[in-house]
């Protein structure tokens, strides 16, 4: 013990570490009292980032960033016991980081902590938010299974909507004319070197600003920020009522951070990493690419907006969000911080959370995606084993109707449910619709024989409520 002490004394004498570390650790912070637990979100995000760096390095030591090999190396990593856990931690860690940085941003917004003098702190936070989303996006892609591959292609097509430079931008994402050998290596470099370098830089700057400007005090209604007097007032507050960061505030960061990490590791062990999909072979057409949950809401949103606005929203939507987030601390740099004096702040947050949850859920169900693997309707649903109705049920499947229209719970939900079609529309109306099509339904004119049509109409007309549906005597038309 004595030896260690003297070694430390020698080291400290030569480096002066404790002369800046101890004041830094003990610097006074506002006594947050009942709000104290709101202040642990930023540090938890940082802890998870470190977790991502550590697990990322572990994964990188088993990963080969080659379009032809990456998939196999990932399968290899997942096949080892600890490799699978590390992958799980990295995947759940990614989710945790997106969630935590999101809640942290919401907390800062609600507390008005972006106001004077902490505007630049907010801006560095915005940069970190988008960098984190960039990590989430590139990370999902490095899985380089079928979904990873098509995600690049879809991203390239989305970028392709940019006016003038779209086509170039799309091919820039692919790193060439086609998605192939050059594509993955770039995303690997982005995910492992480029974006993390910026994250390190901005975290450093962010933390420096936290120390430089001080941690914001909990807001109080009726105590607006006045830039002219704020710094002086804040100094006095610390003097009067401050507590040393270490250990009075730091222990909460550690407790919460520990819980977060324990949950992540626990999930990684019990649930494991996301399953690898099919190999990234572009000739396997059986693919239904979906983004991971962080982008599911955006994907759903893009699907649901009117079609004419698509190109604008794809490009302008994210730009607008960035502009709003950047302008916020310049427009609202003073005045009330308390959310109770800024009730619209609650409305904004509620709106954002609702959007993400609602559209995320929709994106999960994806009602707009045809269910192309829907099996032919079973006899129990059709009601008869032979005859026009049974033949019509086969036509209903083979012509792809079932992929978009559900009957008794089988099939897609893109178009209207036809379980009781016979109650709602006449065979004549059905025939017109089948021949003419609609915005989201192809016309079958010339694509269906008389016989098939009459069977199909017999089948659809037999879809009725009540006992008639179970045992139709004969087709009601034709």
């Amino acid at each position: 013990m004595q030896i260690l002490k003297s070694i430390w004394g020698w080291f400290d004498d030569l480096t002066g570490v404790s002369s800046w570390l101890i004041p830094l650790a003990k610097h006074p912070v506002p006594h947050a009292r009942r709000s104290a637990w709101f202040y642990v979100l930023g540090s938890a995000t940082l802890f998870v980032f470190i977790l991502q760096v550590v697990t990322g390095i572990a994964l990188a030591s088993g990963y080969v960033a080659s379009a032809g090999e990456a998939y196999h190396t990932l399968a290899f990593i997942s096949s080892t016991r600890f490799g699978s856990i590390v992958r799980g931690i990295h995947a759940f860690g990614a989710s945790a980081m997106v969630i935590l940085i999101g809640i942290h941003a919401i907390r800062v917004y609600l507390f008005g902590a972006y106001k004077y003098p902490r505007q630049i702190g907010w801006l560095t936070g915005v940069a970190l938010l988008f960098l984190t989303l960039g990590m989430a996006f590139t990370g999902q892609l490095l899985r380089w299974d079928q979904t990873g591959f098509w995600t690049v292609v879809i991203a390239a097509y989305q970028a392709g909507r940019t006016p003038l430079v779209g086509s170039w931008l799309g091919h820039f994402i692919l790193a060439g004319d086609t998605a192939g050998g050059a594509t993955l290596s770039r995303f690997f470099a982005l995910h492992v070197f480029f974006i993390p370098a910026f994250i390190f830089f901005f975290i450093g700057f962010h933390l420096y600003l936290v120390v430089q400007n001080g941690i914001s005090e909990p807001p109080k209604a009726g105590r607006p920020v006045e830039p002219k007097t704020y710094r002086k007032w804040y100094e006095d507050l610390l003097h009067r009522d401050g507590i040393p960061f270490w250990p009075d505030a730091a222990w909460r960061d550690m407790v919460f951070g520990f819980l977060v990490i324990a949950v992540i590791v626990g999930l990684a062990i019990t649930i494991g990493p996301p399953a690898l999909g099919k190999p990234p072979d572009p000739t396997i057409i059986q693919a239904s690419p979906r983004p991971d949950w962080y982008f599911l809401w955006y994907y759903a949103l893009l699907t649901l907006i009117p079609r004419w606005s698509e190109s604008y929203v794809i490009i302008l939507g994210p730009l607008l969000l960035i502009v709003v987030l950047i302008l916020l601390p310049f427009v609202a740099y003073k005045g009330e911080r308390s959310p109770f004096k800024r009730p619209w702040a609650f409305a904004v947050v509620a709106f954002i959370v609702f959007m993400i949850a609602y559209f995320g859920m929709l994106g999960h169900v994806a009602p707009w995606s045809p269910r192309m693997n829907a099996p032919p309707l079973p006899a129990s649903v059709v009601g008869v084993a032979s005859g026009p109705i049974a033949d019509g049920a086969i036509v209903f499947h083979d012509k792809g109707c079932e992929f978009c229209h559900a009957i008794s719970g089988y099939g897609g939900i893109r178009g209207p449910d036809l379980t009781y079609a016979g109650d709602r529309i006449t065979p004549e109306q059905m025939e017109t619709r089948i021949y003419s099509g609609a915005a989201n339904m192809p016309s079958y004119n010339g694509n269906i024989t008389r016989q098939q049509l009459s069977d199909l109409l017999a089948f659809l007309s037999s879809r009725r409520r009540g006992p008639a549906a179970a045992l139709p005597v004969s087709s009601s038309s034709q």
């Binding site: 090999e69 998605a179 192939g180 059986q286």
Partner: protein, 173 residues
Amino acid sequence: MNPDLIETGTAEAAPCDGSRRRFLSRLTMGLGAIAGALVAVPCVGFLLGLRKVPSAWRTVGKIEEFQIGGTVKVSFRDPSPLPWAGVTARTAAWLRRNSQTEFVAFAVDCTHLGCPVRWLAAANLFMCPCHGGVYYANGTVAAGPPPRPLPRYPVRIQGDQVQILTSPVPITT
């Protein structure tokens, strides 16, 4: 650093030192900028240099393998794939035989956002699993969000072989 030393330095400076210092600080920053550019130009140049692949005719099968009126998936390799491209060097296309001599090849990429479309033989339609875009057998849009018909690859017949001309991924603004 002892501030006194700097102070002394300033105090002792001859009047001409003001311009000398200005020159030295400009020199320092200028050299830094030039060094940065020397490194940045080749790096950025490398990143911006997208791989152009020359088009090439790829055989996808013998004529008699394809039924008249039928549409089947064919696949071919990129003209000059990078050695480590693995399966990603492959490309799929939908090949339709219209008549004795007439073939049409469609890209599998949906013109909406690029998902791979599937051919439903019994329905005579292409359908996209992503947002339900539908195309007729000739590639024109039948329903859903796709803004344009399916892109086509040039096809030719060489002896008894059907060949497709490879092309870049058809991203259009």
